[in-house]
Amino acid sequence: MSNKYEAVIGLEIHVQLKTKTKMFSSAPYEYGAEANSLTDPVVLALPGTLPVLNYEAIELCAKLGLMLGCEIADICKWDRKNYFYPDSPKNYQLTQNEEPLCIGGSVEIEMPGPSRNIEGKHRFVSLNRIHLEEDPGKLSHTAFDSLIDFNRAGVPLAEIVTEPNLYSSDEAVAFLNSLKNLILYSGVSNCDMEKGQMRCDANISLRAKRTSELGTRSEIKNLNSISNVKAAIEYEIKRQTQILNSNHLVAQETRRWDANKMQSFSLRSKEEAHDYRYFPDPDLMPVVIDRARIKELKKALPESPLDRQRRYQKDLDLPYTITSVLCANVNLSNFFEKALAQYDSPKAIANYIVNDLLRELASNSKTGDSSLSIEATKMKAGFISELVEVVELGIISKQIAKEVFSEMFQSGKNPKLIIEEKGLSQSNDDTMIKALCLEAIANNPKAITQYKDGNLKAINALKGPIMKATKGKANPLVLDTMLQDLIESLD
């Protein structure tokens, strides 16, 4: 982009809430079930059927709203959004147009720092609202026709609408990562974009820098991954810049992103925009929000990821390089919390989780990333607490601990059992170690001289053979003292 323009971006994010049943019927929902096996007369909009609200959807959306700092409305109502589409059984969508459940709110984002190890700048992105609406069914296309699976129809969606408050594709990415993490912490959705549990539309316009009036926007639909959001925004900024640079006007339109072609295509112009004919749904009654319940929900709200990260840095003295990894994954940081509750050694525990555990997860997952969830393994938080404890008590060395770690990850046995079964506890048999030390001193006259000349590190050359001889079981602290005493006694 030339320097003339600034991009202004607003996002609309649809998140599937984790209810067991649909928002207006008791039909169950599960991702990946056989096509049309999870419908009922209400879902299919058979003649004579009526919607009944699933209270759980209100509860989860309110929780999400509180997590994102929204005000929870005193009353929310249901509207019909009328449009014909074959995946929408009623040909209207039940939504909250006039009176949404959650108002305002914001999401704290962290922009990428100068390097991965350095914390970036933080800022808050304002939200306009969050409202509830129903998901349509799913269309799939063949070369000749389209097939409809109505399983997904009626699943509750929370639509999170930002203010036009983002100014680059990087900010949009940072926002989506933060938002996704916040939602995962709140536990109201799984946010798996591949499974369609989180979807995004982007509104993009350009304006001359240092002006405040918004330019004409286009809306990009069908963004089903964060990398698609980034690519689509960048494509759109480029496209609009070219239009403006050639002194043409940007048309207000809806465009569809094609992830294969890495291009967007115009779907419809403003003139062709839908006339949704919103009106209050006569079949559903208003919901008056119970303030006491909101207070309870607020009280029980989980810590946000960035608050948790700040706490780890401040109270636990953990470095950014560790906390940024730990807190970016709710399962990981919850795992850390559990381990920490059993043995209070935050740094050591965090290190095992961020280094050893993540490595094991990565090498054991099919895709090679850390997408394998801890729950799917035999690993328990208590194992790590115990492992740190035995290392700190000098029962095993850090080197042995690595071996124990792999073993407990694979077998699900606790570290003490592994140490006992394999006879891994450190040998502190003074006579044997003393003999080995004396042997090492005798074999390394050069290192002894260097040590005596003040190169204290030279002593390390002696340790290797001793460790090898004891299979790593010699306690390094004991070894240090003994070697020093023996060398000094040589004089």
Partner: protein, 490 residues
Amino acid sequence: MSDLFYSDIAFLKRGLKQKDFSSVELMKSLINRTNLVESKVKAFIDRDDEDALRQAAESDNRRSKNMTLGPLDGIPVGIKDILAVKGQPLRCASKMLDSYISPYDAKCIEQLKNAGAIIWGRLNMDEFAMGSSTEHSAYGTTSNPWKLDCIPGGSSGGSAAAVASGEVIVSLGTDTGGSIRQPAAFCGVVGMKPTYGLVSRYGLVAFASSLDQIGPFARNVKDAAILLESIVGYDPKDSTSLKVPTENYLSILEESVKCQKKYTLGVPVEFFSKGLDIEIKEKVYKAIEWYQSQGYIIKEISLPHSDLCVPVYYIIATAEASSNLARFDGVRYTHRSKDIESIDDLFFRSRGEGFGEEVKRRIILGTYVLSSGYYDAYYLRAQKIRSLIRKDFDKAFQEVDAIITPTTPTPAFIEGEKSQDPLSMYLNDIYTISVNLAGLPALSLPVGLTQNKLPVGMQIIGKVFGESDILTIAHDFEINHDYKDLRPNL
């Protein structure tokens, strides 16, 4: 046993109990009667006599084991073609649903089945309940049993005509703007629209969700009360259904005879002004005079926004309908046009072919009043005036227990007379629609015949949940007159 078909429920119940006749014999009597008169009346779109006889045999079987279910056990009930009955066609008198079979029972049907009633027939109606004459049915027009070249009223014309001609004992209809009361008046039977929310709408194919109610047709007030009692009650499947204690209307009626409460009745000036047929005016006034002579207090009242009811109703009802009928789209279970080329083609042509003229007219009107730029001027304004209409009634009911009006401005009209002039057809609902807008209960009671031998109906409007009041008031009139025994010459 020849005229079992014109008997009332109390007589039939007694006869069944005493084994004077069986439910199968009763059902056969109705089938014979229907075979005899149906070619003139044409009340049914569809009927499964075998299935009805099977249900009757089951009822007889229960009775022989002393396991009779309820007050309607063994009594046939005719069903308007807009209420879902599991395994039966549900066409709403539309080509759109020509081959649709409902996979589930409406709540009221479930209740009737639990009470042992025999669910019989798909009674004719205006397509999707849109009309006041039953001329807008894709399956032919029903005739008024009193005068075959007249319409029976609508939209529940089949339900009214079947009861009047002795084809069924009682029937269910639905009422969005008068669709029970107006055909009841035209066919000389009792028809009642309950308080909005008293009867579950689950399984009633929605026309205008905030106005629709299911209600009974019967040849006398007691039968209407019995049928009503078996379909009321809270239903968790209908969010607009209300949690109110159910009343035993029949015993209330029986009690009232012993100690007739003298109610205060309101007579709204606006309902007796221009456009009202002179004979109807006379008959209703005569009835009011009778009440006065019996010690009822008569008060003139005013419902000042009555004049606005028709436009308010047609805006709200068509707006809701335009959205409610969007599900009939050619995709999942309705008529789908042949040789379609695109998805829009599928929508446009399936709906263009599947819907009749009146339905299209109302969909267009309802779509228009909701469309961008017109919402505030039409829909929002209509909803605001709806509040005022409700307030008019609230105010009136501070002074009176019930309100008496004519049910219709004219008696039944000749078929085809108004079908090309929608506005004059809409004005036929002028006395009934305010009741739906306000959510109140009302019934139409026969109060005699015109010189042309066409029935005249009187409307009694009650307070919210004032069903027992209006039933009692109607019953008092009915038992002191012979009108309920008037029968059409078929």
